[in-house]
C-alpha cells in the first residue's frame, strides 16, 4: 500500500498562513525514502513550533539512525500553528510530515520527544489533526503506535491515556529494537493485534506500556499501589544507556533549515550525563553516569558537521561542558584548527569558575567576544549549598570581573527562584551580587559599557531528583520575590541601568509542576484544557493560566484533589510516587538522604573525582563512568582551498 502526499492539497492553504516555509521541508540533509521500500515507518514529532523543534538534537539523531536502516524510514512532523490548523480542519487535510508530506495517520509509529511537559497539549492537537483517536485504548491496528520519549517520559503518567508506550533513557539503540519488534509482528501478519504488539514492545528494555499497569489510590488521595496486570511485563522498567558515544557520532549530517530557527549553529555533544549532583537538575540525575566522547571523536564530528552544514558556529554541548576531561586541550586545538576561518566556537552556559573564562577566551580568540553566560542558580551561599552548587560570593564576583577584564562586555547570570528552604533574603542577594559584579567589572575593565543580565526561572520540582518530595513555591511567592528583587536592583539607577532583569511570572511554573509530578488523574486536566482550546503552552501569548486553573479545579474535584495537592504539597518519605515503577537507576533511599542533606545544607562531591557515593545508577544499570583523558590530540586539518 503506498501513501499519497498531502502536499497538493496543503499548498493552497500555505499561501494563506504565516511563515509557510516551516511546513514545506526540503531542509539541507533531509531525507525522503520510498514508502514501499521499507517495512517500518516512523513519524518523529517534536511537539512545538518548527523553529524550536528543528534544531532538537535528540530528534535529529533518531531521524538519522532510523533512516540509515534499510528496513525503516523516518520523517519529521512539528506542531502546526493555529492559522494552518484551522485551514487543515476546514479542508480535511491531516497532520503531515514535512519531509514527504505523508499523513501521520499512515505511519506505524509516532515517536514524540518531550523535552518539557508543556508540549502535552500539542500532542493532543496533533493526534486530533492526524485523525488518530486521542485515547490509546480506542486505537486499532491501523493506527500508529504513539511512543513518548525525552526527559519528560521519565514520568509519563499524566499522558498515559494518550500514549501507547514511553521510552526511558537514550534513544539511539532502543528505536532499533522497537523497529525490529514492529517489523517482525507485521511480517507475521500482525498476530494478536495491537495488544500483542504492545505486549511484545513492553518486553523491550526501556519500554514502558502504561496500559499493562494498574494504579490504585488510598483514601487520602495518594497512590496505594501500582501493579502490573500481566506477568510477562517487567515489574519495574529501567532506562537505556548508550555506553560508547564514539560509536554513535550522530547527527553526522545535521539538518539545516531554510527557515529561521532558535539555534543558528550546529552542536556537538561532547559528553552525556553529569554527576555534579545539582539537586534541582533532572537532566543531571536521569542521564548518569558520565560518558565522554573522545577528543578525536569530537574533532571529527565538528569537521564533518561544518562541511555538511555550512554553519558558522559550533556549540560544544553537554550539561557542564567545562568538565570534559580534555576540555582545555580540545578548546585550544579546535581554535588552532579554525583560526582565520570565521568559524565561531562556543560553550553553553557554564559553572562559575575562572577556568571557564580561560576556556571562553581560547574559543573566542578568532574574534567574537560578545557574551558569556554563567549559572550560579542560587542567590546566596546558603541556598547554593542547599542545591549543591557551591561557589563562594568572592569567587563568583572575581570570576565575572575577570570576564569583563578580558574584554567580555555582556555577562548573563542564571538564577532560580522558589528553591526549597528559600527565603526573601536568599533572592535579594541576587541583587547585591549583580551590583557588586557591575562595580568591580567597571573598575577592572575601565569601562562603563558593560552589562549584566540576570535571568530568573521559577524552580519546578522534578521526578527522579532529591527535590521530588519538595513543596513547590506558589505563584504568589515567586511573584513577590521577583518584585522585591526588581525593586532592589532598581534602587540605585547608576548601577541598575547596567543590569537587565529577565523573568517570567510564577504561573506557568505551577502548571509545569502539575504536569511534572502529576499522576494518571492529571490526564483529565490535560484533555480538558486541550478541548477548551489550549495548546502551545510554552508560548506566553498562547498559555492561559485561567484555562488550566479552571480545568484543574473541575477535573480534579472528582478525585477530591486540587492543583495545590500536586504542586505546593510536600511529599512524605514513604509516599508512593507516580514514577516509582520507572527506574532511572537512582536509589530512592539515596535520593531521600540527599534531600535530607539538602535541608541541612550539606554538600556532596562529584563521583568522578571524589569516589562513588552509591547513587545506585552504575550497579543497577550495569554501567560505568567513562571519562578520559585519552592522551590523543587533534591534528591540523588539510587546509581547504581559500
Amino acid at each position: 500500500m503506498t501513501v499519497e502526499s498531502l502536499y497538493p492539497r496543503l499548498e493552497p492553504l500555505l499561501a494563506q498562513v504565516q511563515k509557510p516555509i516551516q511546513y514545506v521541508g526540503g531542509e539541507l540533509n533531509a531525507q525522503v525514502k520510498p514508502w514501499d521500500d521499507v517495512a517500518v515507518h516512523w513519524a518523529l514529532m517534536y511537539p512545538d513550533a518548527y523553529e524550536v523543534g528543528l534544531p532538537n538534537q535528540g530528534l535529529m539523531i533518531l531521524y538519522e539512525v532510523l533512516n540509515e536502516r534499510a528496513d525503516a524510514l523516518a520523517e519529521r512532523t512539528y506542531a502546526v500553528w493555529p492559522d494552518l490548523a484551522g485551514l487543515m480542519r476546514e479542508h480535511g487535510v491531516g497532520q503531515f510530515t514535512v519531509d514527504a508530506h505523508r499523513p501521520v495517520r499512515e505511519f506505524d509509529l509516532l515517536g514524540v520527544s518531550f523535552a518539557t511537559e508543556l508540549g502535552y497539549t500539542n500532542l493532543l492537537e496533533a493526534l486530533d489533526l492526524a485523525g488518530v483517536p486521542l485515547h490509546a485504548v480506542d486505537r486499532d491496528e491501523s493506527h500508529p503506535v504513539v511512543v513518548a520519549g525525552g526527559h519528560a517520559a521519565f514520568n509519563p503518567e499524566p499522558v498515559s491515556d494518550f500514549v501507547d508506550c514511553a521510552v526511558l533513557g537514550d534513544g539511539e539503540q532502543v528505536v532499533g529494537d522497537i523497529t525490529d519488534v514492529v517489523a517482525a509482528w507485521k511480517d507475521q501478519g500482525r498476530p494478536g493485534g495491537r495488544v500483542e504488539l504492545l505486549a511484545r514492545l513492553s518486553r523491550v528494555d526501556g519500554v514502558y506500556v502504561p496500559r499493562f499497569y494498574a494504579v490504585s489510590y488510598a483514601a487520602d488521595g495518594t497512590i496505594a499501589e501500582v501493579r502490573r496486570t500481566r506477568d510477562d511485563v517487567p515489574a519495574r522498567v529501567g532506562k537505556r544507556t548508550v555506553m560508547d558515544l564514539d560509536e554513535w557520532p550522530y547527527p553526522k549530517q545535521p539538518l539545516v533549515p531554510l527557515a529561521e530557527s532558535v539555534h543558528e549553529r550546529m552542536s556537538v555533544e561532547i559528553f552525556r550525563g553529569c554527576t555534579r549532583g545539582c539537586r534541582f537538575c533532572q537532566a543531571g540525575m536521569i542521564t548518569r553516569p558520565v560518558r565522554e566522547r573522545t577528543i578525536t571523536g569530537i574533532g571529527s564530528m565538528v569537521d564533518a558537521g561544518l562541511k555538511a552544514t555550512g554553519y558558522e558556529e559550533v556549540g560544544l554541548l553537554s550539561l557542564s561542558s567545562a568538565d570534559h576531561s580534555e576540555i582545555g586541550q580540545l578548546a585550544k586545538e579546535l581554535a588552532d584548527r579554525y583560526e582565520g576561518t570565521n568559524t565561531g566556537l562556543s560553550l553553553p552556559s557554564t559553572r562559575v569558575d575562572a577556568f571557564n573564562v580561560t576556556l571562553a577566551n581560547e574559543l573566542s580568540r578568532n574574534g567574537r567576544r560578545s557574551g558569556l553566560t554563567f549559572a550560579p542558580e542560587g542567590g546566596s551561599e546558603r541556598i547554593r549549598r542547599v542545591i549543591n552548587k557551591t561557589v563562594s560570593k568572592e569567587d563568583l564576583v572575581r570570576t565575572v570581573t575577570t570576564a569583563y577584564a578580558n574584554g567580555w562586555r555582556q555577562v548573563k547570570l542564571y538564577f532560580m527562584c522558589g528553591l526549597p528552604t528559600e527565603t526573601d533574603e536568599d533572592v535579594l542577594e541576587i541583587a547585591e551580587l549583580a551590583v557588586e559584579v557591575i562595580r568591580a567589572g567597571r573598575e577592572a575593565s575601565g569601562s562603563k559599557d558593560i552589562r549584566c543580565t540576570v535571568s530568573i526561572g521559577g524552580f519546578v520540582p522534578k521526578p527522579h531528583t532529591p527535590f521530588q518530595w519538595a513543596a513547590q513555591a506558589s505563584a504568589e511567592t515567586i511573584d513577590h520575590r521577583l518584585r522585591i528583587l526588581r525593586e532592589a536592583i532598581n534602587a540605585d539607577r547608576r548601577i541598575g541601568r547596567s543590569i537587565g532583569l529577565r523573568y517570567h511570572d510564577g504561573k506557568p511554573g505551577v502548571i509545569e509542576g502539575l504536569l511534572s509530578r502529576g499522576d494518571r488523574r492529571v490526564g483529565k486536566v490535560i484533555e480538558r484544557v486541550w478541548r477548551d482550546g489550549g495548546h502551545f503552552d510554552g508560548w506566553s501569548e498562547h498559555f492561559s493560566y485561567d484555562r488550566w486553573q479552571t480545568a484543574a479545579a473541575e477535573e480534579l474535584a472528582a478525585f477530591g484533589l486540587d492543583l495545590a495537592w500536586f504542586t505546593t504539597r510536600e511529599r512524605t518519605e514513604h509516599e508512593v510516587l507516580p514514577w516509582d515503577h520507572l527506574d532511572s537507576g537512582l536509589d530512592k533511599e539515596w535520593l531521600w538522604d540527599d534531600w535530607q542533606d539538602a535541608i541541612s545544607e550539606d554538600e556532596v562531591g562529584d563521583c568522578r573525582w571524589t569516589g562513588c557515593y552509591d547513587c545506585g545508577v552504575c550497579p543497577t544499570m550495569g554501567t560505568d563512568i567513562q571519562i578520559g583523558p585519552t592522551g590523543r590530540s587533534l591534528l591540523p586539518l588539510t587546509p581547504v582551498s581559500r
Binding site: P12, Q16, K19, E27, L28, L258, G310, N342, G367, G446
Partner: protein, 255 residues
C-alpha cells in the same frame, strides 16, 4: 577600550560575480531572509573564497536585490558576491548549485565587468506570470481591459508603518491574458517602483475595478527581471557583463 581584531585586515575583493537563481516548487514559500541564509551557507559549503568586511563580526560581501515576495516563485532572482581570489564563474555556479536544495537552482554566473554599471540599476521591471485556477479567461480579459482603461487604481498595501494607498495602475506597463491547460493566466509587466507593486496588489486592483475574486489562491512566477526596454519588455540584466567580458576576452557573446 575598544578591541580591534588581531592580525591583518581581510583580503580585498578581487572579483565580483553576478548570479541568477530560481525559487521553484515548495521553496516559493521561502522569504528573502530565508534565501539569504541559505545562500550564505551554501557559499561556505561550496568553499567559494568570499571577501569579508573588516571588523569584529565580518560579513561576507553579498548584495541581494529585488527579492520576489514570499509565496511567489521566481525564475529570475539576482545577487552579487565579492571574492577574495579569482574563480571561474561557471565553476562557482556549478559548485553553488550543488550546495543548494533543489528548487533553488543557480542558472547563471557572470563576472561583473568594471565600468558596466551596477546590477541593481538594471533591475527596474518584472514580467510576472500569474496562474489563476478556477477563473474564467473571458472574465479575466474584461477585468484587465477595465483596469488598463483607468488612470489610477489605488490599492491598500500593508507596510511597516500601517497601510498605505499605492497606485497599482501606474506600475503596470502591460497586461495580457492567456489560457494554458484550461487555466487562465495573467501575464503582466510591472515597473519596480517604491513601494513595489506585487502580484497580490495587481489582483487587489482587479478586485477593486472589476470585482474579480479568484476562488483559489493565485500562483505567481517571476519569469524575468531586468531593465524595461523600448518595446516594453524586460531585458536580460546580465547582458552588459557578458558583452563586456566577451569583448575583453575576445570571445563571442553568448545570449
Amino acid at each position: 577600550m575598544a578591541r580591534t581584531p588581531d592580525g591583518p585586515p581581510p583580503p580585498p575583493t578581487v572579483q565580483k560575480l553576478r548570479l541568477r537563481y530560481t525559487k521553484r516548487g515548495p521553496l516559493r514559500f521561502a522569504s528573502h531572509r530565508d534565501l539569504a541564509r541559505a545562500l550564505e551557507r551554501a557559499l561556505r559549503r561550496a568553499q567559494v573564497p568570499m571577501a569579508f568586511s573588516a571588523g569584529f563580526s565580518p560579513h561576507p560581501k553579498i548584495s541581494y536585490m529585488g527579492a520576489a515576495p514570499t509565496g511567489a516563485a521566481s525564475e529570475a532572482e539576482y545577487f552579487e558576491i565579492g571574492l577574495s581570489a579569482r574563480r571561474d564563474p561557471e565553476q562557482v555556479r556549478a559548485a553553488l548549485d550543488a550546495s543548494l536544495p533543489p528548487g533553488i537552482d543557480v542558472l547563471e554566473c557572470v563576472e561583473a565587468v568594471e565600468g558596466s554599471g551596477s546590477l541593481a540599476d538594471r533591475l527596474d521591471a518584472t514580467r510576472w506570470r500569474i496562474d489563476l485556477p478556477g477563473v474564467d479567461a473571458d472574465q479575466l480579459s474584461a477585468a484587465v481591459q477595465t483596469f488598463l482603461a483607468q488612470e489610477v487604481v489605488l490599492v491598500a498595501k500593508r507596510t511597516k508603518n500601517g497601510t498605505k494607498d499605492v497606485d497599482a495602475r501606474e506600475a503596470v506597463v502591460s497586461a495580457a491574458v492567456a489560457v494554458e491547460a484550461g487555466c487562465a493566466i495573467l501575464l503582466v509587466v510591472v515597473r519596480q517602483l517604491t513601494p513595489t507593486v506585487r502580484p497580490d496588489d495587481v489582483m487587489a486592483a482587479l478586485a477593486a475595478v472589476a470585482d474579480l475574486h479568484p476562488p483559489l489562491p493565485a500562483r505567481a512566477v517571476r519569469e524575468a527581471q531586468g531593465r524595461l526596454d523600448d518595446s516594453g519588455d524586460v531585458a536580460d540584466p546580465l547582458g552588459p557583463d557578458r558583452v563586456a567580458s566577451s569583448r575583453c576576452q575576445g570571445e563571442p557573446a553568448q545570449v
